[in-house]
Structures are given as C-alpha cells and as structure tokens.
Amino acid sequence: MTAPSPVAGPVIHRKPLDGGKLMLSAYVYGVLLFILLPLVIIIPMSFSPREFLEFPPSGFTLRWYGEYLADRRWQDATILSLKVAVLTSIVATVIGTLTAYALARGRSVFAGVVRLLIVGPIVVPHIALAIALYLIFQRIDLIGTLTGFVAAHVVLALPFVIFTVAAALSRVDADLECAAMVCGASRLSAFRHVTLPMITPAVVSSALFAFIISFDEPVISFFVSSIRQRSLPRRLFEDIEFSLTPIIPAIATLLTLLSVIILVAAWGLQRWEQRRREGAAKS
C-alpha cells in the first residue's frame, strides 16, 4: 500500500485520515448490525423447546417447524400464497418484458403515458390501492379469489419487472437485432434468437423478484382476502399480535431463508449476464 508509486504525483498523507476512516467504519458496522440483528435474532428463537418466546433458547427442537407444516390453516395459507406468487410471476414477467421491449424499440405515442403509469404503483401508497381494489372486488365478487390476488400483485410487480428488463435491454446493442433482420430473420425470430438469450438472466431475475413481491405482500392481501381464502402474510399479520409460541419465528426464519435464496440466485444471474455480454462482445 505504501510502496512509492513510479508515477510522480502529489504525495498524499494518509496518516491523519485514518482516525476518521476508523470512526466511519465503526459507525457503518454499527448500522449494519442494527440492520441485521433483528432479522438474525428470531432464528434461534424458532428452535426453542418452550411454549413461549425466549432468547437465548433453552434447548433445540424442530417442533415448531413441524407444527407449521402439519397445521391445516398454515398449509392452506402457504399453498394459496405460493399459487398466487407463481401466477403473478409468470403474468408480470411476460407483460413486463413485452412492455420493456416496446419502450426500448418503439417510438409509440403512448410511451409517455406508459412511463407515467409504470411509476404509479411505486408512488401510490399500497393502502390506497388496497382499499380501491377491496371496493371494486366486493362488487364483482373477486374477494378471496385467485384472479383477484393475481391482478393486484401483477400491478405491484410490473414496475420492477419493467425496470429490470429495460436495464438489460439498454445494454444490448440494437444493431445486433437489425443485423439478424437484414440477414432475413423476422422480428420475432430476431428477438427470440438474438435479443432474448442476452436478456434471459434479467428476465429470470425479474420473475424471481415478482415472485417474492407477491409472496411477501401484506397490505393488499390483507384487504382482498376473504375469511376462507387468506394468504400467508395475512395469517402472519393476524397472528403476530396474539400468537406467543415460536411458530411465528419458525415461519419468519423460513421466509428469510427464501429471501436469501432469491437474492443469491439473482446475484448469480447477474454474473451470468455479464459473462454472456462479454462473450457476445468478443465473438
């Protein structure tokens, strides 16, 4: 680090800076601890053999995980949430990719309105949309239905799909597609064989994000679910205040594990895209 550089340049006195740097690092690691600690602390609590929440746990058992898996109410909620999340992910990814492609390659007069609509679900508070959907779903009997859940969650997921895919598209040279079409490919096959392979990692990671957005979504689920059809987040929402057994920490641990898996997968996909782009640039 302190080896003299062969290039003549201003000498930087690092010494006086180190104190400040150390303080900055200490502060930042403190903040990171603040971020992670609450998430981490529930994990050991889920293994506690007692009927109530304790930390540190007085023993180790997987009993609460077993109870979660065996409980009919939690099973139903989990299956419903999984169904909704998978459907949301498929629908949002397809529609979002079409939209991102149209915006990247088209000069539609509607583009301005579409861009405004994309930020809509991010800017408009979820409680407002939840109430609005609750009102209209009551009227057309969509409360607690798969269609209702999916329609609501697709709206929430679309902005993230579109931004992720649009970012990937902006890194793909449009000339490659043009070249394919000059060589006689139709637009569809140019898209399928040239552009799509290059944006596949982004499309897959946007599908993962759409899945987790839907699976973890509490507010709209809370309002559009019915007494019989409740999503996992709604069940959790209702039980958090009353249930004092470690079953909630067990579910929370599983949900956090799911987030970790999705994050690692998205990171891997990003690396894949990078390598693919470098490969395309070379050939």
Binding site: P10, I12, L24, Y27, V28, V31, L32, F34, I35, L36, P38, L39, I41, V94, I95, T99, Y101, A102, L103, R105, G106, S108, F110, A111, V114, V119, G120, P121, I122, V123, P125, I127, A128, L129, I131, A132, L133, L135, I136, A151, A152, V154, V155, L158, P159, F160, C178, R187, F209, D216, P218, P233, F237, I240, I248, P249, A252, T256, S259, L263
Partner: protein, 289 residues
C-alpha cells in the same frame, strides 16, 4: 395476419402499430386493476350521488383528523432524516469498498430489501415487548429496575420504520457516490481542505441527486405505510393509513375513507410532481434492482 406481418416488419424501430400492440396488455392491466379502481374509490367521496365536498371538509374541520395528518407527515419526515443519518455513511463506505467486503456490505443492504416487511416488523415486536430482548438486556445490565414500555411508542415506530426503509435511501446514494471519481476527493485534500470540508463541498453536492431520490422514496413510502405503524404503534401513534383502514373495516364509512385517500394521494402525488420537476421521476428507481 398480413397486417400483423406488416406491423412487425424488420427495421430498427417497431412500427407504431406493433408498439401499441405490445403495450396493450400492460395498458389493460393498469387500466382495470389500478387506474379505474382508484378513480372509482375517489368518486365515492365526491359523489353521493350528487357532487359534494362534505367528506373532504370533515377531514379538515375536525382537529382529530388534522392531527393524524400532521403526525403522519412529521413521522415520515423524522423517518427520512433518520434513514439519511444512518444510511449515508453506509452508502459512502460501500462506494469505496472493493471485492469481498463490498459484497458483504451490499448483501446486508439488499437482504432486508427483499425480505418480508412483516418479518422485519415482527422482529421489532419481539425485541421491544415488555419481556423482550431490549428490556431483559437492560435489566440484566442493571441499567433499569422495571421493564420500560417500548412497544406502542413514538420512538419504536420511528426506529422500526427507519429499519424497514433504510435500503431505499442507501441504494440511490450509493449509485451517485459510485460515480464520483475518488480523485476529486484526493484533489480537495491535497489542496488543503479539511475532511469535513471535502464532505460538505465536494461529496455532498455531487451526491445530491441520490440523496434527493432516496429521501423521496422513503418519505413517500413512510406517508402511506401500513404494516409497521399498525403493529408497532398504539392508538396514540395512529397514522393516516391506519385511519383509512379503520374507516373501511370497522366503520364501513366508504365516503370518508375515500376522502382520506384523496387527501393522501394529493399529498403524495404533489410531492412526486415537485420532485419530477426538479430532478426527474426516472431517478426514483435509479438505484433499484
């Protein structure tokens, strides 16, 4: 079929017809499940069945509701400031780190962003309960004799909301800081600037777009936040989202709930529009994903 083939002919740009066709599914979903329901809800507060402003007047006439509105704005503002104070140094360090360390810090920021808001809020419920970790920790250290009331307090709501929203402020600031060449900082230091001066006159102005979009994102989300205030706050900390929910679920007062949503939307969209004028709304999502 021939028309479709003509629309999707080759060429650098999509034809207008093809562009519109590809945008159609998005437009349909947004029209049916976003725009129309919101308009429908808003009309409940304005037409009953004739045009009336009575429900909106009620929001502003009764001190209770004004107080909740004011508290909501104040809480959102405090949460934003807290997020900036906690998040800026993290973004700064992250932008200067390399390799494995950078990946670890980035993971610490990204994991909460993609983990369940309910889980994170629940963690705070567990920590702040009467017999929770914070109280038992303080008691075993001998700092307090009896457990403090932490849950259902103003402070608990602020801390938990800042915890949930922190990634939103770190990522955009990181995005702008990453683009500031480290040479600028070095140049300022070489010319004799103090460290704080470098921060105030070089780093802060250049990172302003990130600071602004991060703050906006946190502020807007905090105004309409439902889960955390509902679980961590008591009746004394009621925010507008909880009030709206109560009007609908318990009192079935749709017109008044609609007026409250109207006020909330005017505030949120107003702030977003001002921001759009100043910096550009596209920046809002610049740090995402």
């Amino acid at each position: 079929m021939t028309m479709l083939a003509r629309w999707f002919r080759g060429g650098r740009w999509l034809s207008p017809g093809a562009g519109a066709l590809l945008l159609l599914p998005f437009a349909l979903v947004m029209a049916l499940a976003f725009v129309y329901p919101l308009f429908d809800l808003l009309s409940q507060g304005l037409f009953a069945p004739n045009f009336t402003t009575a429900h909106y007047q009620r929001v502003f006439d009764q001190p209770v509701y004004l107080r909740i509105l004011w508290r909501t704005l104040l809480t959102a503002f405090s949460v934003t400031v807290l997020c900036l104070v906690l998040g800026f140094p993290v973004a700064y360090l992250l932008a200067r780190l390399q390799g494995f360390k950078a990946a670890v810090v980035a993971a610490c920021i990204l994991l909460p962003l993609w983990s369940s808001v309910l889980v994170r809020t629940y963690a705070w419920v567990v920590m702040l309960r009467r017999e929770g970790l914070v109280n038992s920790g303080l008691q075993s250290l001998g700092l307090i004799d009896a457990p403090l009331k932490l849950l259902y307090t103003e402070g608990a709501v602020l801390v938990a909301m800042a915890h949930v929203l922190l990634p939103f402020v770190v990522l955009p600031i990181y995005g702008t800081l990453k683009n500031i060449p480290p040479d600028y900082e070095r140049a300022a230091l070489v010319m004799g600037a103090k460290r704080f001066q470098v921060f105030r006159e070089v780093i802060l102005p250049l990172s302003m777009p990130g600071v602004a979009s991060g703050s906006l994102m946190v502020f807007l989300t905090a105004i309409g936040f439902y889960v955390t205030p509902a679980l961590i706050g008591g009746p004394q900390q009621m925010m507008i989202s909880t009030l709206i929910s109560q009007q609908v679920r318990e009192l079935l007062n749709w017109p008044f709930a609609s007026a409250l949503v109207g006020v909330l939307l005017v505030v949120v969209l107003g702030i977003a529009a001002v921001f759009n004028r100043a910096i550009g709304i596209d920046r809002l999502t610049g740090g995402k994903a």
